[in-house]
Subunit: 324 residues, 4 copies
């Protein structure tokens, strides 16, 4: 099956590569001609402009947009839609906010176009391991694209089957789901990332406590000088906390247990924030997911105004002058 | 009435001064002879040693220990108790852990001595405003010391009376309570401080959000350049969040809204930590009180190991290299 | 000065009453004729319709809308604006979302109308104590309305002056501020409420720990049976945690320490949620304010799905069957 | 090699079974003769009393105690130690508090006995998958017991090797580590469980948000009716949040997505609480791990006093009467 891809960064490029390997064909476009050339060399058909891109696609067209969320995606989806016709499908595979999907889908649907949102997890590992995909959109469009999704997904692999899933949608076990109407794919991916933040912070706090178990302020008999790399490794074997994130932790600690390569400033992307907005909208308590996001905010700040204000109050009531 | 005071730091010294002003008498001791001399000049009787101190006290004796919690208090209470006799009272007015009170009271009670723990709030303002006191110990000892507590407490002052308190213990309105047996005074004071941390952090977070309301990352139409000093001031007048801590905040912001005098490193004393230990022991959720303490921990740290570990994981799954 | 008031619920009605007492005049309208009649009896001029209301106002008009935030306020502001002319002022005194203010102000400004947003704190106590007001809008309109704000505000009263405020805007001490352009008033009021949630939860957690200090699961020597009413009362006198919320707590506990009149289901209004959205938008960590809101969410839920899922996992790895 | 086992519950019994399968021998004792008989049938030597148990062990003895933490473990370790002699080893394989280990080890060491603490993860799955073990104690004793640990551990299995571990302690990859001196094993296991709570709560909150994504209070266009079982399943395939806990979640949801078998009351064991105590002692912020524990506390409570107090304050300042 043919897929068009706009946006040939690491994610977009690798998706095309994986499709070509699996015997599909691709038309590609990027503002950077070198990115186009690289994929043409890998077997894709290159386009010189968005118009050219649309012209090269078989009807009904399937055009995947893999660009930064927000303005770049919005502009390209809008322009593409203007060039396409009823029955065509625009796929947003980036990290869009699900309410933007809902809005864009309504606009495209009025003109008979389909809008499919695909949340993907797998990052740099996707080319080899396959992409875990959460898909939103009309059944007709999602079904039509099934060969593409099946090729991109990891498949059954050697992950043990979950007992009791007989008779359920087989796509989930192969690594992709049709989550619901437009927006549902990115909604589920958003929560995925919110959980990811929480999981990461749980490990981070635990390892921080382990790291400080030998601190001088502790009574000497209770100090431990622990090997964090070995601890991460042993937990990979039969423990309740084993996970892929723990595998990555064990790898990182095998290299440099002090993590000196990292500044401690941790970025956050929109999904973690949107997850909290969704929790607040639903009135669902999300203490852990919030705390995980706030820890990232705090990691990027030096002395905060909030902290200074605490000191000012302490000075006010107790004459405490905090050490500078 | 006569009171003995061991430990003539700011708190101990001011308590003696307030008692002398109110017509009581005092015997004082401190390892620092200059501290003793200063209070002798104010009208107290000075002692040259703990033995001398005990010898100068009228029987049944009342000896108030106002020293740092932990070893200094433990050592002095133990030594004092060895010099005193059945019917005497040792008062621990410091910030002791309530389980230490319970243990020490049991030891003293075996020898017929009383142990009274007094948690005091009021800090540097106590000399003028009076001390808010939470008292633990046997009724007999607490009642005997009532003239002392009445003199130290703020009294009714001009604080509006709480409706519906007719027939209740009048001491609470005058600023002191007999909270329960030994340990109860410091237990209540501990929770007082736990709450204090939570209140302070609530203001701190709120003012931090106000402070960043003009941040460049926000859409221009939604940026506000707010006057935090005026905001703190206006909230003192008829708003739901008015409090003494807000009064102090308004004072601090009237002086320097940027709070440049403060490093942002915020100390914590034992009570905040013990409050959480108590909550955990009782299985009471204490999200806010915990978060307030943790914010102080974090304020004293630069880049944390936990944060670096998050970056290491992010690099592992996404190839993200956090900026240094 | 004359003020028009649309919406004569408790807040709107009391604002009019306070203005009349202070010698101002008012034109009032409400969908409920009985509400209009009640204020006409108090000295206001009643209107039979919005058109009539606008017709009765002196030019340049000042019309205060005091309706529930969201659709009711939106509809009335829009309709009013359609009836008014350049130079008139519409005041939104409700609990609107500040981004709605910014949007509405832009629409009104295009037609030469002013839009002033006023966040008020004081609730049922405002009629007697005065209203604490945070105001957003153009300087010209806010200055013109100054007599109204001065009459509604608490004034200096007997609250001690904050040292160091000489030369600063005197309105803050009298209980109102011009916070900034349209939206700034509700923004500051929103944060006020966010802080309020945090303060309340800090007290709530502290008193819960005190309440459970006598729990049977604790070692007998460490159990305390505390008098929470007396504790709240004593903290009002000279302690660091004294506040108006503590006054209210002392009142409530003087009445019924068991609080049997309350179900434990705690409502939340928009401001607490919006405060978190603002914190997230600004990347400000708000652990305490979040936890306070989530505690309210949780208070309204029985067994949660999240909790059941924990049990399901525990059963999965440990064979634990939670007791039903 | 021979091992003695006291305490033949599920964990103790299965450990013996796994050792017997691997060619080791065992002497077993339990207060319940039926439990002894069951393991004798499986090939172990049964003892009639602790004295008999000690008498049947080869010198130097190795006696594993697998009993509930606290009094049962304390009593049995003490009694065993009294019957054993210099050079023997007592192993505490339960969930003891690490400070109890440190104290007990000091007592046993004075008499020439070794004390080895083993934290084990793996629960009901350990018999088949092997036990992940974190071990504290003297090197001499831990090395002597190596054949036992090697037999109980999962071994390399089919878990991918962590790159960069060449030259590091090979025991970690086989599923057990010598973490440090006595207490270090249970310390590491404690943090393991603290992390476990955090991971579980992250999933729980995320799935709760997914569960409520179709709530009636949301705008209709933004409601999603999601298949949580399929979502859990798809995340097992190539996503960043894949883990063993997610495998268990997928299993549970494949059975009953509504989780009606669970009451929502979630137990907690000591380790989650101790983890927070350790964090507080080390001044390490642990927002996520705390929140996870508090969520369990809250899950077991109906209407809380804290919540009622919030309502009482709300009534005080706003006249709000919460619905019952």
């Amino acid at each position: 099956m043919q897929l068009g891809m706009v946006g040939l960064g690491r994610m977009g490029g690798n998706i095309v590569r994986r499709l070509l390997r699996e015997g599909h064909s691709a038309v590609v476009f990027d503002r950077d001609p070198a990115a186009v050339a690289a994929l043409v060399a890998a077997g894709a058909a290159g386009a010189a402009s968005l118009e050219d891109f649309v012209a090269r696609l078989d009807v009904p067209r399937a055009a995947w947009v893999m660009l930064p969320a927000g303005d770049p995606t919005e502009a390209t989806v809008t322009e593409l839609a203007g060039l396409m016709q009823a029955g065509d499908v625009v796929i947003d595979g980036g990290n869009s906010f699900y309410k933007d999907d809902i809005r864009r889908a309504a606009v495209l649907n009025e003109r008979g176009l389909h809008y499919v949102d695909v949340g993907t997890s797998g990052g740099v590992w996707g080319l080899e391991r396959g992409y875990c995909m959460m898909i939103g959109g009309h059944k007709e469009a999602v079904d039509r694209l099934d060969p593409i999704f099946a090729a991109l997904a990891p498949g059954l692999g050697d992950v043990p089957r979950t007992p009791g899933r007989e008779g359920r949608d087989p796509r989930a076990e192969r690594g992709y789901i049709h989550a619901g109407p437009s927006g549902a794919g990115h909604f589920v991916k958003m929560i995925h990332n919110g959980i990811e933040y929480g999981l990461m912070q749980a490990y981070a706090e635990g390892f921080e406590i382990l790291r400080h178990a030998g601190a001088q302020e502790l009574p000497e008999a209770q100090r431990f000088d622990l090997n964090l790399g070995d601890i991460a490794e042993v937990w990979r074997r039969g423990s309740v906390v084993s996970s892929w994130l723990l595998d990555l932790t064990a790898s990182a600690l095998a290299g440099d247990e002090d993590l000196d390569a990292f500044s401690g400033h941790v970025a956050d992307s929109g999904e973690g924030r949107w997850t909290l907005n969704a929790a607040i909208e639903e009135a669902v308590p999300a203490h852990v997911l919030s705390a995980a996001l706030y820890a990232r905010f705090r990691s990027r700040q030096g002395a905060t105004y909030a902290d200074k204000l605490l000191s000012a109050m302490r000075k006010g009531f107790g004459g405490h002058q905090e050490p500078k």
